[in-house]
Symmetry: C2
Subunit: 632 residues, 2 copies
Amino acid sequence: MNSPFVSDVPAAAAHTAWREARAAAGCPARVATVRVPVGEAVGRVTAEPVWAKRSAPAFDSSGMDGIAVRAQDTVGAAETTPVLLTDFEVVDTGDPLPAGYDAVIMREHVHRTGEQAEIRAAVPPYQHVRSIGEDISAAELLLPEGHRLRPVDVAACAAAGVVELAVRRAPVVAIIPTGDEIRPLGATLEPGDILDTNSLMLAAQAREAGCAADVTEIVRDDPDAITAALRAAAAGADLVLLIAGSSAGRDDYTARVVAGAGTLAVHGVAVRPGHPVVLGTVDRTPVVGVPGYPVSAALTFDIFAAPVLAELEGAAPRERPSTTAHLARKLPSAIGMDDWVRVRLGRVGDRVVATPLPRGAGVLTSLVRADGLLVVPSGVEGHHAGAEVRVELLRGLAEIDRTVVAIGSHDLVLDLAASALRADNPLITLASSNVGSLGGLVALRDGLCHLAGSHLLDPATGEYTLPYVDKLLGDGFAVIRLVHRDQGLIVAPGNPLELAKIDDLTRQGLRYVNRQRGAGTRALLDHELARRGMDPADIPGYAREEHTHLAVAAAVSSGRADAGLGILAAARAFGLDFVPVAQEPYDLVLRTDSLADDRLAPLWDLLGRTGFHDEVEALGGYSCAETGRRIR
Amino acid sequence: MNSPFVSDVPAAAAHTAWREARAAAGCPARVATVRVPVGEAVGRVTAEPVWAKRSAPAFDSSGMDGIAVRAQDTVGAAETTPVLLTDFEVVDTGDPLPAGYDAVIMREHVHRTGEQAEIRAAVPPYQHVRSIGEDISAAELLLPEGHRLRPVDVAACAAAGVVELAVRRAPVVAIIPTGDEIRPLGATLEPGDILDTNSLMLAAQAREAGCAADVTEIVRDDPDAITAALRAAAAGADLVLLIAGSSAGRDDYTARVVAGAGTLAVHGVAVRPGHPVVLGTVDRTPVVGVPGYPVSAALTFDIFAAPVLAELEGAAPRERPSTTAHLARKLPSAIGMDDWVRVRLGRVGDRVVATPLPRGAGVLTSLVRADGLLVVPSGVEGHHAGAEVRVELLRGLAEIDRTVVAIGSHDLVLDLAASALRADNPLITLASSNVGSLGGLVALRDGLCHLAGSHLLDPATGEYTLPYVDKLLGDGFAVIRLVHRDQGLIVAPGNPLELAKIDDLTRQGLRYVNRQRGAGTRALLDHELARRGMDPADIPGYAREEHTHLAVAAAVSSGRADAGLGILAAARAFGLDFVPVAQEPYDLVLRTDSLADDRLAPLWDLLGRTGFHDEVEALGGYSCAETGRRIR
């Protein structure tokens, strides 16, 4: 990935170079101070220390419901020698202490009879009296400069007589989408067009960071047009995000434009994804050239934009909590790059297990599905399976602790179950990672998941899953039937090649798309081939592997392939045709002691509901006749 | 605190009782679903599963800048046997893969000469090709129901062709302030009046939880008026917060009003602060009677309102990260109540140390200053000093790790330094807890803080602080002079009793206010008394103790006391007169190896700046002649 056109500046050095460029260009260190009513100040950062103008409470007051007394009048009172008071005043919590009294006796300890109050214990002076200034003393320092105001802070300010606060105004972030192929959301797309989802995301990230965000029109790939847009945006913003064109392709003008209109401090950082970042300034405004790949764009905001925006407000950047976790599998990483890996997390046994998600810069769903971010620093060549790693959390740890982790084969019914469980109870998460049936069984054996989804055919016996459970896992594991489903050939609409059976796959010129080794669907194909005495080498495309049913359907849909084995639901999703070749059971494998796990109870309940069966069968190609049955 | 008028329902039972009451009253389980454009959906919760309408990418595209080729044309290419291609097309990242080609070779690996491209390595089919659906496959489940949408989520939805999302509308929270003594913010206050800071805080808390908040006019203490306000609010809101009057005093109508207008489920929970909570329903709307003490109000929102609001949205409640910490001191707690204790946190050595803050329900600053919340469950009778406890974090742990912890005597100069350090660098926090000079030295000895502020006079030698450091701490500790300051008698404006010296304190009828044992100011008084052969018992009020200079000044200001020993700045803060009796050094004590602690470097730098000296001396009663000098 080391490119001669874009440099590999380490992240820390990039921060420093950009900071120096901002200082040299005279970029303001802080945004301006504004005075706002306390009620509008939540979320803003104090621009001055806040001193209390008044004490709170502003007077000595009763801390209880009861009577105000003179402590000296109660001297000698005891259970055996009660004292009758005539000089007292009834007070409620918060009432000013009436003049002449110096203590309060709780209502519950007063045995009153008309004009007299009977007391059975002496009280010291100032008992249950809230002193003036108990909470806030006039002139004390209530809040320092550089403090992001929370609800309790503004309430305390108001209590201290502060009606207006000097705060930093919200920084303004200008976002400029560029690219001849970029279309606004809602546009009708021609082949090759790409929707401008990055502006939407970056604007939302900026707002989440407490800033105002301003998205300009999409600018075409033209250096002059980009320069004009950049200058205009820089004039009215505290930070400009210029999207795409930050690499070194033919239409990548960002670096040149920034260098021409201002200062180019950094072009390319040793961070993946996010390598082709541009950092610079234009007209005293910091500029980030944000890579166009969506994961790169999101992380570039976090790594480079967010800290500068916090600095402009004079506040510490928001920080994510973190936890330690154990890697579910080996995580290779190239030396020389900070590698930001998205992971799913779940607690299995007493460990938090981290399963890496796809690492492509274009796979935004890897960030959507991520529970955490793990950085493999540039000096580290990855981690072994089981290694303990530090993970920044994108979801709360308590939520992660409650998550049911399924690793194995992919099936839409699992997704449907996940959504149905959550609709019932928002505290439930069923997270599934797709590594194929065999991979799931291995993950279960290694204590990396609660459930393994499997439809793995044993060629020797013709049985599904159970022989593998016997062989790989042994005693102490149970199997629950999730569903029966049709497997078949996914083909173009109208089945133009008129494929009817597995035997047709050797046809000259046909382009097959296969599933990866360890996938149940691959085992099914291999079994069918063996049964027929067919040679895999005779199937054109046998070596081309995809990792999910939907990816197979996508390949057929795009015309890259003519056929692939998969499930009806995947064919339907892409409007493709389907030639059934087999019905197979899809099962959930788990430790027997997990059957009693509280987290799984709602799933067993769901699998017993006919309403859910109806929903599943409505997908097509599914039968729920044995759904929920324990078969081992 | 056990009241016969308000019950002590355990928190879990209170949640259950309220849930059952809501169900019985027919309160909606969820707020209504609305359809909003993806761009407006961030922060909202999905009301249905979101299925992808389109694949992303929507076409096979180039994953790199380079040339599109046919993989088969590159067969045999190697360093020693380069292949010259004539059939290729230049592509940039994201370009659709031109028809007829099936792989991309990175620009850096192409040695091009005009119309020909020289290739020195064979490439497999689909190298650097982003497949259709690599990120999102049409018809896959993108997001489950009950998912709070983040920037990456809406971007993924947009990429998947989803232009509108079905989400739960923001719940509406109605807030009703009540009380004859409550005045709106900005009002001119008469004695006994209290500002309505709770509405401001609760509205901000509701907005922070993603809700709309609507604050009504202040309602007087009249059951009919409160009933009318409650019914009106319930008609237009998803949750009503009725502030104050939730206890059982004479003017506490909340419980009766809720019972009269709807269902009273709970009156009083075993939670401190927050005990007199009312939970119920009115007209199919849940109602919380929120205690009027501000800390109780804030925690009542967190404990009871926030979970219901999350449930109405069908989402998991926001959750605070937590950490383990060691208690700086003993923490007693009554059996039978969940005790929510506010703590300051700091990392000293390899431990996070938690110092409990004042526990009064009225001390809002305890929540403002808190870094974390610690719950002592109702079955636990407190913790020993040093005990390991679980703390919910109110500040980020990285920020806490960077915090300089000062425990000891209080001085305004420390506050001023804290604010100045933060203004320079928002990442720096100097947090001071006031326990008196001796308490600070003990805390330093026990590894609970980085700095101990001390002005402790040794009566035997007349020296400050150093003899105690020798005796208590021994080798390995350094002392840095912070400031010299005037100590004197704080008296009413005009010094009506004409107090001129320590000797005057025995005057008949005088009301003295003292500092607590272990405070440097107390040691100073005792020393001055001993020097003069005076008997403490002869000073009226000697036994009445306050814990800060400002509290002493507040006592004089309120007329509760005639005089107290303290610093000029405290007298000035309350507009009081000051009779100097001594000048004393105020020093910072620390471990010698802490001198090299990076976290403290900015403090040493600040203490050397004349600008800071000027600011300090402008407070009055301070001299910076020796500020920053190491004296041990």
